[in-house]
Structures are given as C-alpha cells and as structure tokens.
Symmetry: C2
Subunit: 230 residues, 2 copies
DNA sequence: ATTCAAAATTCTGTATACAATATATTTTAC
DNA sequence: GTAAAATATATTGTATACAGAATTTTGAAT
C-alpha cells in the first residue's frame, strides 16, 4: 500500500490497458512497488481511476513480460530479482547482443551509423555533468538504433524485454564507480567495429560489453546485500 | 467462420483463460484458423461455451506470443508467416540453440543424457513406420530435455515460443523427402558431443542443425508457393 | 450502373455485477 | 492458554451490460 500512482488520463486512441500496463511497469521499474509486494486489482484500478478490466489485462501482459508473478486464486506479486535471474538474463542477452552487433555490422546504414556516433558523443557530455537519468535515456536510444540496424524486429523485442526485466538494478549499477567511463570505452569499440563493418570485432565488442556489465551488476548486488546485513 | 472448436470443459483449477488460450493456439497451429483470418471474441466465446472475458485475456496472451495481431478498435487476426518471419525466427533461434547446446554440454546430468539417448532411439524407430505425429511429439520432448539441461528457465521459454511461432510450417517441412534421416543424423551428432561434454562441438552441431532446418523450411515454402501459383 | 453518403449493425473497449475461493478473525473446546 | 473449527471478509475469476467506433449495407443521386 505504499505507492501512489498517477491517475490515467485517457489519451484517446491508445487502449487503456496499454497505458495502465506502462504505468504499472514504470512503477515497478522505479521501485514504487517493491519486489514481493502484492498487487491488488481493485486498489490499482482505484488509484488510476479506471475499472478492473484494463488493470487485469495489463497485469496479464506484465506476467508474460516477467515483471509480476501470478498465483491462481491467490493474487499477483511483483517479481523479485535474484542472482540466478541475473545470470539467466545475461546468458541470453550476451548471446543475442552478439548476434545483433554482428548483424548490425553487416546491415547498418550510413545514416544510422551517424546517429549512433552522435548519441555516443552526447553520452560523453552527460558523463561530465553526471546526469544519470539523461544517460540512461540516451543509452537506451543508442541500443535501440543498433537493434533496429540488425533488421530483425523480433530480436529487438526480445532483447528489450530482457533489458527491462532487470532495469531496476541496471540503473543502479551504472552509478558504480568508474563503470560509466568503461561503458563509454566499450561503446566506442562497438561503434568503431560496426562502422568498419567488421562482424567479428563487433561481436567481440558486444560480448565484452555484456560480460563487464554483468560483472558490475553482480558486484553491486553483492555489496548492497552486504550493506543491508550489517 | 470455418473451424469448430471443441467446447471447454472446466478442468477445476486451472484458470479458464489458460485453457482457452491453449485451445486457440492449438487451433492456429493445427491450421483450423488460416493466417490472416479474423478472430472474433463473441464467436470464439460461443463456440467454446465461455464468456468473452477469458477469451479476451487469452487473445492478449496470444498477441504477446506472436500468434495473432491485434489492431486497436479493429479486431484480431491470425498472424501470417512470411519468409521474413522465418529468417528472423531462425536467426534468433540459431543463436539461442547454440547457447543452449553449449550450456547443456557443461551442465547436463547423466540421467538427462540417458533420456536424450533413449528418445533419439525412439525417434529412429518411428522414422521406420513414418509416424509423423509421434515423431513431432518425441522431437519436442527431446529438445525440452536439452533446454532443461541448460539450467536456464528463461532460455527454454524463449526458444519454445519461437519454435511454436513457426510450428505450422515446421511440421510440414519435416516430411520433406530425406529430411527426417538428416535430422536424425544431426541429432546424433548433437547428443554425442553433449555426452562428451564438448562445448565447441555441441555448439557446432546445434548451428548446423538449425541451418539445415531453416534451409529445408524455406525450400518447402518456396516449392509450395510455386505449386499454388499454377 | 456507379459512386457517395447516411443509417444500421457489429464488434471492440470498458465498467460493473455476481460467484467462488482463499485468507483472516473470532469463537469454542480441550 | 492454545489449537482447531466456523464464520466473516476480501479478492480473484467469470459473466454480462453498456458505450463508442468501425464496417457494412442501403438508398439516392449522378
């Protein structure tokens, strides 16, 4: 019963269920709802000022996406993320990011390449003034261009879903000391090899980027668990 | 308005939406509903003897899984599969099957290994008497053991979803002349390398298996399109 | 005969009502 | 005082009702 959700205002012509779904997903990602917390349909519906129907449909979708767990006749709970989950997600993501990087190196257009390079510069600027929110935003855009350049719509969808599933902690690990500059360097290698249409190097850069990201994430999780204990 | 769906009998305590979802999915996979065909909630509900609510929830799930396409305020249509789709699915599947094979080679238990070998023998027997239905069934079980041995639950889920999305035509291409025996040989290589816990060989076997499967599938699709034209 | 417009119908989107089950609370028996 | 059973309450699962939008049909005009 902790969080307040902003009431939905019906943007005519996207279905309510979509708006509701995004609102709840964002609330989970932002930590408004804690892992393990129970989500009740009536309560959510009241807070957002809609009926139970679109809320139910939104919850079903979030279950498919892995953000909540439903137990029949018992209720819905916010999924909590374990080390095991991180491992699973990164095993798959590594494989798919490598694929995407290789495909992008083959298929990217000059225009997309320019966009990526521009976004990279922008991230660099925001690292200077430490604007995390902005960095996360541009980083997402950066990766979206890459996935799009792979010319495989499903691939982008699957990767994005996997990314979102761990966004809660991903954001935090970005602030891990020194991680931002490393990320920057890894991204530059990735862009360079894609620009050279060098499939092997692009795949390698993607793999290294993933391994480092996972490593930082796990380190951060362990340290924060440590802090909690004492 | 072609197909008849069997009425749902409420298996007490699995939610209706699950049963409805499986019924519709199976109907799509079995070709009861043709690609592009419109699915109407009331009609489906009546045929299965339930209300619209569980049907709606089932359709939302099928949309996430890629079996149907929803256009807001317009309706739901059975997704139709194009060459582009086949390409996309196999690009991703290859990557993930290679991952799964590698992980399985590292992590499989002796018991699981025995099961895989047993299933392989069973498939061989059914190739003799040409029982396609049975082969598809055992083949599915065979792969399920492999995914399980990868010790990555999400991976199994994603691959199975991708597999199902093209089951409609996958089944047909299995009957392509000579394909069954080739599949058998590829499976044997895969099992052997996993049994030897040889990661590289297992990954290679998986990659080759996928490439051949896709190749046959595309060949079959092209030939059947050819037949249709005249 | 064809085309455009308006009315009617059909279907989706959302809200609400009802039924069934799980959980919490209270009462009773030991 | 504790434990078990019965009752009460809350919440999910399903059905239905109503509103609004899209499509189809019908009719008239060119």
């Amino acid at each position: 019963m902790s969080g307040h959700l902003s009431p939905i205002q019906l943007d005519s012509y996207r279905p309510l269920r979509e708006l509701v779904c995004e609102t709840i997903r964002q609330a989970i990602v932002d930590g408004v709802f804690s892992p393990g917390e129970r989500l009740m349909e009536i309560q959510l519906a009241d807070e957002m000022g809609v009926s139970r129907t679109p809320v139910r449909e939104a919850i079903r979708k979030l279950e498919l996406e892995g953000f909540v767990v439903m137990i029949p006749r018992r209720g819905t709970y916010v999924a909590d993320i374990s080390i095991k989950d991180i491992n699973e997600v990164y095993e798959i993501r590594t494989s798919l990011e490598v694929l995407a990087a290789g495909l992008a190196a083959e298929r990217i257009s000059d225009e997309e390449l320019e966009t990526m390079q521009r976004l990279l510069v922008e991230i660099g600027q925001h690292i200077e003034d430490g604007n995390i929110e902005k960095i996360v935003e541009i980083d997402t855009a950066f990766h979206d261009v890459l996935y799009k350049a792979s010319r495989n719509g499903r691939l982008a969808g699957i990767i994005n879903n996997l990314r979102e599933q761990i966004t809660v902690i991903r954001r935090r690990s970005m602030m891990y000391p020194g991680r931002l500059r490393n990320t920057m360097e890894e991204h530059r290698l990735l862009v360079d090899s894609i620009a050279a249409h060098d499939v092997d190097r692009a795949q390698n850069a993607a793999r290294i980027h993933m391994e480092n990201a996972e490593h930082t994430l796990l380190k951060d999780m362990l340290e924060s668990a440590e802090r909690k204990r004492k």
